[in-house]
């Protein structure tokens, strides 16, 4: 039994969104649906001084995020039909389309904005960790597409050596779901739960 995790290196990510596009291409996703998204996180302020000059503490950093295949997934916990389920061997969380009623409960509960109800398909959709690729010994397509090597994927033991567990704003405290995401933050990044860091591209990612 090997549970898998993603690694995100905030010191390498440029926010180019190649990961997002590679996923959309591989999964053949239409407009308005993306399983991996890049959040543009901004904080700080710009003030005008008495002498007319401006000083700014504004910083921005990208965060590439998909389903974190949590150890204690909120989406699985609330799902009324068992459609949202976790593979016992790999820990990967996916949707059984034949069971899903499309109630959106998983979407409401997930604090990582991973599942969405696709009303055309009639069920929830989300990142499944490219489970068929993982079964074939490959990494998820988003990881392999990243030109800056800011993403990685592998057994939890290996990924946990590369960073702290989901400790970056705008993510919530890891205690809610124990996400399988290990992050090396950029120097400007704030820790998880710091509400001063705002998502400034909500129309794109939400």
């Amino acid at each position: 039994m090997t549970h898998y995790a993603f690694h995100f290196d905030g010191t390498r990510c440029t926010g180019c969104k190649t990961c997002e596009m590679a996923c959309k291409d591989y999964k053949d996703l239409g407009l308005g649906v993306a399983y991996r998204k890049v959040y543009e996180v901004t904080l700080g302020e710009t003030k005008k001084a008495d002498d007319g000059t401006f000083a700014s503490t504004c910083v921005s950093y990208p965060l590439s995020l998909a389903c974190n295949h949590c150890e204690n997934p909120a989406c699985v916990k609330v799902c009324p039909t068992g459609a949202m389920h976790q593979d016992a061997d790999t820990g990967l969380v996916s949707v059984d389309a034949d069971k899903c009623i499309g109630c959106g409960y998983c979407h409401m509960a997930c604090p990582y904005n991973a599942p969405k109800v696709d009303r055309e398909k009639g069920h929830s959709v989300k990142c499944d960790g490219c489970k068929e690729r993982v079964a074939a010994g490959e990494k998820p397509v988003c990881v392999e597409a990243c030109p800056a090597r800011a993403l990685d994927f592998g057994p939890v033991d290996a990924m946990s050596k590369l960073g702290e567990q989901a400790d970056i704003a705008p993510l919530p405290a890891k205690s809610y779901t124990s996400p399988n995401l290990y992050v090396k933050p950029s120097k400007d990044a704030k820790p998880a739960g710091d509400a001063s860091a705002k998502v400034v591209n909500p129309l794109e990612v939400m």
Binding site: P80, I101, G102, C103, M108, A109, C110
Partner: protein, 292 residues
């Protein structure tokens, strides 16, 4: 507030179904306290179609929320673990007992003791259903909903809305005199007061909690601010519904009592629906989640 309107099917479900269920609290009180002859009971039983319709229309509205209603029978798989499964199970148990009671009552052959017993069971199941409906929103990753104020609100709406529907049924059944008799009048007023306190107090407590929350996408204060006028309008309608009920149980001409009953029911639907929409508008996640 725009996102809240997208939840209209659920807002209608959580307005109409608890209202219809709550009416059985008033009917149980009537059977236990008032002296009703067979003709009056027959009229009440036929008019029980009104609260039954509210419950059924509420469930139908909920189906419009689903992307794949054909798989709906699978919702019991999560019984015990999923709050939504628990809610639907409580609702289905209530509906089964309601249909059995109503069908039996319509035959005109229900013994008085059975009627009283089943009506009390239905009243208790109605309150359980209302509580489970509210508890379905207690999700630990949605900070503004993860509070007992949610189930308390729905319980309140079931009582206020149920009082309005119950009074309407009794008024239409020509039981104006029984309504103003001491015991039933006291029971209706008690249900009304508890309902108003729970409904308005629960929403106010939730709004105050949401006001102090914030995440990377929005602030709870902004959400409460945008919902404030809807909350005020809902509270005004709910209180006005209660006032109509008070006038109805004070007595008067039969048509005036029916008029007050109709007014109470219409105002209760409007008030509860507005307050439910305000509830959905105050969703503050601990992370990155928002209603769309």
């Amino acid at each position: 507030m725009e996102a809240a309107f997208a939840e209209m099917p659920l807002a209608l479900f959580s307005t109409l179904a608890p209202m219809g269920a709550g009416a059985f609290v008033i009917l149980a009180a009537a059977f236990l306290t008032a002296k009703l002859d067979a003709e009056a009971l027959g009229r009440i039983d036929r008019l029980t179609a009104i609260p039954v319709a509210f419950v059924i229309v509420g469930f139908i509205a909920a189906f419009f929320h689903l992307a794949s209603p054909a798989n709906a029978f699978g919702v019991f798989a999560g019984l015990g673990s999923s709050p939504l499964s628990n809610e639907i199970a409580a609702g289905v148990v209530f509906c089964v007992v309601m249909v059995v009671y109503w069908a039996w009552a319509l035959t005109g052959k229900m013994p008085e003791g059975v009627r009283k017993g089943l009506a009390v069971v239905l009243a208790v199941l109605a309150l359980v259903f209302a509580l489970f409906t509210g508890m379905a929103y207690m999700i630990d990753t949605i900070a503004s909903w993860n509070t007992l104020a949610g189930p308390v609100q729905i319980l309140g709406y079931a009582l206020v809305g149920g009082a309005a529907l119950g009074v309407l049924v009794l008024a239409l059944a020509g039981c104006a005199d029984e309504l103003k008799a001491g015991s039933l009048k006291t029971a209706v007023l008690a249900v009304l007061v508890v309902g108003l306190v729970c409904g308005i107090g629960g929403l106010a407590a939730q709004a105050m909690a949401a006001n102090g929350l914030e995440n990377a996408l929005y602030s709870g204060a902004d959400m409460v601010s945008s919902a404030l006028m809807v909350i005020v309008a809902g509270v005004v309608c709910l209180v006005a519904s209660g006032v109509c009920d008070v006038f109805a149980v004070r007595g008067g001409g039969a048509s005036a009592v029916v008029g007050m009953g109709v007014g109470a029911a219409v105002l209760a639907v409007a008030g509860i629906l507005l307050m439910r929409l305000a509830f959905y508008a105050m969703q503050v996640s601990v992370g990155l989640s928002m209603l769309l």
